[in-house]
Symmetry: C2
Subunit: 173 residues, 2 copies
Amino acid sequence: MRPEFTVKPIGIVRVSKTDEEVKNSWSGVEGFIEVFPEYAEGLEGLEGFSHIIVIAYLHKTSEEHRRVLRVRHRRLARLGVDPRLLPEVGVFATDSPHRPNPIAVTIVEVVELKENRIHVRGLDLFDGTPVLDIKPYTPSRVVPDVKTPKWYQKLQEVVTKTLGNRYEKPLEP
Amino acid sequence: MRPEFTVKPIGIVRVSKTDEEVKNSWSGVEGFIEVFPEYAEGLEGLEGFSHIIVIAYLHKTSEEHRRVLRVRHRRLARLGVDPRLLPEVGVFATDSPHRPNPIAVTIVEVVELKENRIHVRGLDLFDGTPVLDIKPYTPSRVVPDVKTPKWYQKLQEVVTKTLGNRYEKPLEP
């Protein structure tokens, strides 16, 4: 028997867009990370980081979604990419919300930090998404020479050809 | 009443170093991410990414650690930095393992992917740590112009002055 662990929200995502609008945004949306008052003390010292890493629990995924191990980047099809050009790959090679533990790791730009509310840009999370953790994006998170597989490069080319350079988010399924 | 969520390991960290050795390593250690056989299919397509993001549950933290909201970078004191130079900051402004949800987000370099074992470099996780998720480190994760607060820059200076450039990991408490 393998152990299980319990996690609890320390805050919540607030955006004034519908889920569909968030899904179809080119480079994420603007919004707020509202940290619950009892955790606000943990934000001390966060001001001045230009970017933060938001760890969230994708609460709208179902038990069935948690059994998915292979996906296609269907989101790109909705945005206009020919579905036949979308390869099927393992979930751990993608940012798919459908995965055994529906945990999102989103890097967002901080606009302003005011009390327990962080105004951010670049959110790809729905309104009401529970936030599990916040970490600063430090220079050590920057990998200077990232390499990606051929299938990913090819997909990136297809996306750029179809959508132009407007699509700035990771290639999400 | 706020909801809670259950997460389950999809794999485990294997390193042949003691916890102390991992804690005191300058730039993380070499080791393996062993994905449980029933999730191995999810790794399809991961080969060729030079780096991956490992999301792990820090199972050696206690309930008490989960109530911590302010920390000092004590790890740096152990490495030789004058403790009086370590500011106290909120956990969300640090990578402290003591935080409401002890979830680690570690970026590691992939040496080799072979069946369900990923040989990696740069691990700051103990042997036996449960892995919750793996995501590819894609170019979109690179923030070109990261800014950090003054306290962080000052701490970085102190660290460089004391330890030289050997210390490559994020400034961890």
